[in-house]
Symmetry: C2
Subunit: 260 residues, 2 copies
């Protein structure tokens, strides 16, 4: 089992879109995948057809009221599980500010549940993070084995890249995490016709050559529409470019795991 955080403090770069559609592509190819929605906006929950906090929520787990296993719900698609978010999560930073263990609450909730998750055959856990450097993102980085950084092909997103890569290193040291840091950087909303997209691609290749996924996610109309139907792209437009690019990303991710 591997836990991967989708993190980038820059807003609107495709964290949720990548968490949901990568999870759907992994599930489609037979890997049981659990999405945990750590964003109070609960976009990942609604993108999977589960409007806010129906049946369970990660907030109940972080506050110690429920175990992780109890909050897992099934989605409409096989092998695709979810722990939703809820609006109360927005107050989390302030609520736990005085608590010394505030940064490792998610890791503490996950570790004792490993046997339960293995019994469910969970192969991947994907953590969707909110756009900030707050306690929820820190919890995700402390709990994850590695981090996928979705990077929108725009200037502000590129400018923020060294920020998130530094934060990942800092959190790992602070919470004495054994595993490797960055799983990879995936370019999102790429538009072949734009200079900006080409420039961002060239910059990332230059500075992070061994971290950049080969799979690039193009900007497509269907990827923007899918969430309004409460479906991942693999269900909304199974033969389209969006589905193909997320399947390619899933295959690339899986192939990396078998290389020791």
């Amino acid at each position: 089992m591997k836990t991967i955080a989708l993190a980038n403090q820059k807003g609107g770069v495709g964290k949720t879109t990548t968490a949901v559609n990568l999870a759907a592509a992994l599930a489609e190819s037979g890997h049981v995948t659990l999405v945990i929605d750590l964003d109070p906006q609960s976009n990942a929950s609604s993108a999977l057809g589960v409007p806010g906090a129906q049946g369970g929520s990660i907030y109940r787990v972080l506050s110690g009221e429920r175990t992780l296993r109890e909050q897992i719900i099934e989605t409409a698609w096989p092998n695709l599980l979810l722990i939703p978010s809820e609006p109360d999560l927005a107050a989390f930073d302030t609520e736990v500010a005085a608590y010394e263990q505030r940064n490792t609450l998610l890791r503490a909730a996950l570790e004792p549940q490993l046997p339960e998750l293995q019994a469910l055959n969970v192969a991947y856990i994907l953590l969707d993070c909110p756009p900030s450097l707050g306690t929820l993102m820190i919890n995700a980085l402390a709990a994850a084995d590695s981090v996928i950084i979705p990077l929108q092909c725009e200037y502000f997103a590129l400018e923020g890249l060294t920020r998130i890569t530094n934060v990942i290193q800092d959190i790992r040291t602070e919470t004495s995490h054994p595993a490797q840091g960055i799983e990879g950087i995936v370019l999102t909303m790429f538009d072949n016709r734009l200079n900006l997209s080409q420039q961002v691609h060239a910059e990332v290749k230059k500075h992070f050559p061994d971290k950049l996924f080969d799979s690039i996610i193009p900007r497509t109309i269907r990827l923007g529409e899918a969430p309004s139907h409460g479906k991942p792209i693999t269900a909304y437009d199974p033969a389209g470019v969006g589905s193909q690019s997320y399947r390619r990303l899933a295959n690339e991710l899986v192939a990396r795991q078998s290389v020791v």
Copy 2:
């Protein structure tokens, strides 16, 4: 003088792009405008050609080390002033969590400085907010006379709209703010050819008819490129569609002020 917050907890919807370019359009038409960058990402600072925290920062003001006036710097364009952000701002939520007055620190810093700001002829203060419902955004809502909500023409952004409108009402009650709430909602990254853009436009017109600005900001390549040159759109592509749409928005905003 009017203080306006650019707020929306959804990430990547055009808060910074609107703060910077609306400010530039107001400045161009003779209104002295001060942009305060409340986002630790300091995108507004770099979009105005001032890389992180050179010469001043709002963090110094909120922590009480400096007065607001002392942190104001000039940009390369007449009538356009800035108080930059800095990375330390990311720790603000946790640093002030135990402090009872944490939500009104910005208002407390602004009020005594009104004579200084009037001496500078400041007509508008625009507050660029980070993408979260944390203490920095609450400070902005408590300090502002009104709020402009940039709304990207996408599903997740539309889904989050009632969230931000509710939060604005809550904060005003909590911090006993006398002024009106929402100045208006401005559609951003609008693409005439997309169903999604048309649908979002129709939905907002239906639910918030008297709040929607007539001016719509289209998605343009130049608006995406301008920040990488450290210039507002009015300097980077003065005759283009992006500049025209932000000038129209500025004119609409100014016209609303004179109607009592």
